[in-house]
């Protein structure tokens, strides 16, 4: 009798590869191998549908047939490692970046990365907004030395393609006009406000400003880097907006 660990290991391999070796499957009307095929289809379909749920814009860009093939190719090299299917699919963007059949759509990988990030932001732990009174009490000459915490769900993405414009374009069931994917890159800030996910384009300067602050460096260092990359960067206005939008949620010396 095949011990349970060996049976499960072999059956699992058969589900993923389609090759059935030495399994004690009962034939009854249908062969055991044909019966196993039902499970193999269920497994493949569960992974495909999970990606479809996370990457609807990516699917629109390539069409459902192409998406299904790409999803199956991804599944071959990326088994699920969690009992919660919501954890599946985080490396799909990287996969698409190296997936030869998608080479004609060089923006696809970055759009997929935006979709994954959007979902992670949507389900992240809630944050507490900045204590504005405490911030107002900080003497002005100490501001350059302040460090900031950001809301855990917030992320800034940078792409050589207009990923947010593409994402917005695809929200319309019948998009009008045409979008040129080579019309220039975008930097996108993804964050949560209560239960809503907000996505907005940010400038080169704001992107640099946030990157430095989120690395844990102080306000002065963030200002220097932001002004280096964008000489006209409006520090005061942008900083106030980042606090107001609950991107920056706490400060420390």
């Amino acid at each position: 009798m095949q011990p349970l660990p060996e049976l499960q290991h072999k059956l699992g391999q058969a589900l993923r590869s389609g090759v059935v070796m030495d399994l004690p499957l009962r034939d009854r009307g249908l062969s055991g191998v044909r019966r196993l095929q039902v499970y193999r289809n269920n497994h493949a379909s569960a992974l495909r549908e999970a990606l479809r749920a996370v990457y609807p814009v990516t699917e629109r860009l390539v069409g459902d047939a192409f998406f299904a093939i790409a999803a199956d190719a991804y599944a071959m090299g990326n088994p699920s490692h969690s009992g919660n299917i919501q954890d599946y699919g985080g490396a799909f963007a990287a996969f698409l970046g190296a997936y030869a059949p998608a080479a004609e759509l060089p923006y696809l990988s970055d759009v997929a990365a935006l979709e994954w990030r959007r979902l992670q932001t949507a389900i992240a732990v809630p944050h507490t907004p900045m204590d504005l009174e405490a911030l107002a009490e900080v003497p002005e000459d100490m501001l350059p030395n302040l460090h900031f915490h950001h809301q855990p769900a917030a992320r800034a993405l940078e792409s050589a393609y207009p990923i947010l414009s593409i994402w917005e374009f695809c929200q319309d069931p019948e998009p009008k006009g045409r979008l040129d994917p080579d019309s220039g890159g975008e930097r996108v800030l993804i964050s949560r406000k209560a239960l809503d996910v907000e996505m907005r384009r940010i400038s080169v300067g704001e992107y640099a400003f946030l990157k430095v602050l989120c690395r844990g460096e102080d306000f002065a260092a963030a200002c220097r880097t932001a002004l280096d990359s964008e000489p006209g960067f409006a520090i005061q206005a942008r900083f106030a907006a980042l606090v107001q939008d609950e991107i920056l949620t706490d400060f420390y010396l």
Binding site: Q8, G12, L25, R28, P79, I85, I123
Partner: protein, 287 residues
Amino acid sequence: MDTTVSHPEPIPARAGIGLRAPHVRQVLDTRPAVSWFEVHSENYFAPGGRAVAELDAIRRDYALSLHGVGLSLGSSDPLDTDHVDKLKRTIARFSPVLVSEHLCWTSAGTTHFHDLLPLPYTEEALRHVSVRIGEAQERLGRRLLIENVSSYLEFEHSTIPEWEFLREVAARSGCGILLDVNNIYVSAENHGSDARRYIESISAEAVGEIHLAGHVRKDVEGTPLLIDSHSRPVTQAVWDLYAHAVEVLGPKPTLIEWDSELPGFEVLLAEAAKATGYLESRHAAAA
């Protein structure tokens, strides 16, 4: 082990509905008269966001059951304590009246299949899964209901009838039974076993919940195979078997499950009303 913790109020022996994301808004807006709802536990593992906030709101007005699909209780690997702990946090957040999982395995090694795979019904598997259910219950600090799954294949070395295996798992681990009448029917048709005898072999006290769902009949190479699709109304044959279950086991909280090709919510309400009819006719018969 304390298995008496946090049962806010028992779920009545009435029909509930499996709540899926597309219907949540409608339920919050219209507050339909439904006795209780059941959701998939893993869909609410996230620490924040709209789905968990909406379930908080639903929980304030309705009794809730958490039904897991990913714990892989029958797997021969060590129990995934991270998964158990996430379930425990989810239980703490939503105070469900019932918590259930499946009598199956869904992973091997580090790979998860996201499908409910059958166990061989052997003494080895029985020992193993009973211990594992006990471990999970201990870590969760509460009793689980364990559901029989639909199956499309059997193992040559299975020696124990499934009903006996299920009954024995409950006796050894102290878990309750979630009896899925549609799954009993599907497996009995697929393997040529006796569905009524299955139900008659289960002890009424162990059963905490019943599931009902629709299946489809496929023709595979000239052989009919029933697939537990959760995509159709409950078939008459399954209603008949359910009537028998209510007769034998007494009225139990009964859930209508529908997962793919999801219809309008009113269709689920009608299915639940039909189940209520069967439950009440048993009451009438007993009176």
